[in-house]
């Protein structure tokens, strides 16, 4: 039984199934994010060392470390949704009663899901459009920069769907 967002969903429900799927995706995505972070540190410090000690420069170091950064950020956005890391204002929501507050949170999650779905879908179209263009310094597709936006947005939409189904965490606190 999955315990996403700290609350266990009743077994056999769609919410429980979604939570299990999300647990799996989150696990993989976390590994990719960690890999991207390691890659950034290694490439940037290797570039400093090469340039300073050997007077050589890696042509692709700047572009590829940027690529890894874009991957780390967009893939970590949904993980942040799960942990309630994205800051929000609680001025109003703090003073309204628990019942309406939960309903409001679910509505906001639903709207957020719509936003993420639009972003994700548009990013898919852009990625395909740009696939024929190579990067500046390597002969790999520049579409790899847009790909994490697709993945992050669609993954984020799933998390917001889970919250809209009533499994939300309050925003703004970790």
């Amino acid at each position: 039984m999955s315990t996403l967002n700290g609350v266990a969903a009743p077994p056999g429900t769609a919410a429980a199934a979604l939570d299990r799927v999300l647990d799996g995706i989150d696990w993989i995505v976390a590994k990719v994010v960690i890999g991207a972070m390691i890659g950034m540190v290694v490439i940037v410090s290797a570039q400093v060392f090469m340039r300073y000690a050997l007077n050589l420069s890696i042509d692709w170091a700047e572009e590829i470390s940027r690529l890894l950064f874009v991957w780390a950020v967009f893939l970590a956005i949904p993980l942040g949704i799960r942990r309630g890391a994205h800051v929000g204002m609680t001025l109003l929501t703090d003073v309204i009663p628990t019942g309406p507050r939960a309903g409001l949170a679910r509505l906001m999650a639903l709207l957020g899901m719509g936003l993420m779905a639009v972003v994700g879908w548009q990013a898919v179209i852009l990625t395909l459009d740009q696939w024929d263009e190579p990067m500046s310094t390597l002969d790999v597709s520049v579409g790899l920069f847009m790909l994490p936006v697709c993945i992050g947005a669609l993954h984020g939409a799933l998390h917001l769907l889970s919250q809209a189904l009533g499994r939300g965490v309050p925003p703004g606190r970790e």
Partner: protein
């Protein structure tokens, strides 16, 4: 109807000024039926983003350094060979001729309508280590370059150590000595205030850069014929004006850079010949990407080879 055109050059740059003329001409030619909103100085994002935005139709057009379309349309590289054009007149002759037409067809195939070619100018190297007077002087210099294969290969062939670096970090990097130098046209060196952190300047003129003005093809084709005509006419006027302004700005910027304390060392014809010889291998590299026929055509038109 409002058309949005964005660029990454500062509002004072000759190309941005010429776009003001373009705007006035279009609005006059259509009796105000078309309005042009201009966004110079990276207001709507950097050069690469502008190109993407035009391609996907978020904005109508952009004026941008040719290097930013050369990965999408590698044929552009044929006119970006090292030490290709000795004078700006030759450059314009080539780009306004059959070679230009061939490149424009490739741009059209990728969804752009090319409206004209402005001048970014000859690129020249500056540095803090020593005056560049001979081929040997390039040896071991850490020069910041655009992340472009032709540029990087050219400077490796000269014996320098090209460094790819974000332009946002360049001023500080020059100031602190993370890199020894950089290369840009005179007006850009002045506008970016690199003269404050660089001692030596030479007229290396290693590349001549164009600024294509391009529009989204679908949006352009959807315009009424008389609007298209007004835009084409306005582009022609703006491009002619820009080429004049750019020549003036180039001469003026060089004078000003010296007045601001940079030491200028003009290269001798012998040195230029040596630089050209050292980088002759780059042509074969570019042929692989831009096509051998087109490159040969360009070389012939530029009077470099029969």
């Amino acid at each position: 109807e409002t058309l949005r055109i964005a660029g990454n050059f500062a509002p004072e740059h000759s190309s941005s000024k010429a776009m003001e003329l373009f705007k006035a001409e279009v609005e006059r030619g259509t009796n105000g039926a078309l309005t042009i909103d201009l966004f110079p100085g990276m207001q709507l994002g950097g050069a690469k983003e502008n190109v993407d935005a035009v391609r996907s139709g978020t904005i109508f057009g952009t004026w941008v350094g040719a290097a930013f379309v050369s990965r999408l349309v590698p044929e552009v590289e044929a006119v970006s060979l090292p030490f290709l054009f000795e004078t700006r007149e030759t450059a314009f002759q080539v780009i306004d001729g059959p070679v230009g037409k061939a490149i424009e067809e490739k741009l059209a195939a990728k969804g752009f309508t090319p409206l004209g070619w402005m001048e970014l100018g000859q690129r020249h190297a500056t540095n803090n280590i020593r005056p560049l007077k001979t081929l040997e002087d390039f040896k071991g210099l850490k020069l910041r370059m655009q992340p472009n294969e032709t540029h990087l290969t050219t400077f490796r062939a000269l014996g320098a150590n090209p460094v790819a670096m974000d332009v946002k970090e360049l001023y500080s990097a020059l100031q602190q000595g993370v890199v020894d130098g950089q290369e840009n046209p005179y007006p850009i060196i002045r506008a970016s205030r690199y003269f404050e952190v660089q001692k030596y300047l030479s007229n290396t003129g290693h590349f001549f850069d164009f600024i294509p003005l391009v529009a989204n093809r679908k949006q352009f084709d959807a315009l009424k014929p008389e609007y298209k005509q007004a835009i084409t006419a306005a582009s022609a006027k703006a491009v002619a004006e820009q080429r004049k302004l750019a020549a003036e700005a180039d001469a003026e910027a060089l004078k000003d850079l010296q007045a601001k304390g940079m030491q200028f060392d003009a290269l001798t014809p012998e040195t230029l010949a040596a630089l050209r010889k050292a980088t002759s291998g780059v042509v074969d590299e570019v042929k692989k990407r831009a096509g051998a026929d087109l490159v040969d055509q360009v070389l012939a038109a530029a009077g470099k080879k029969g």
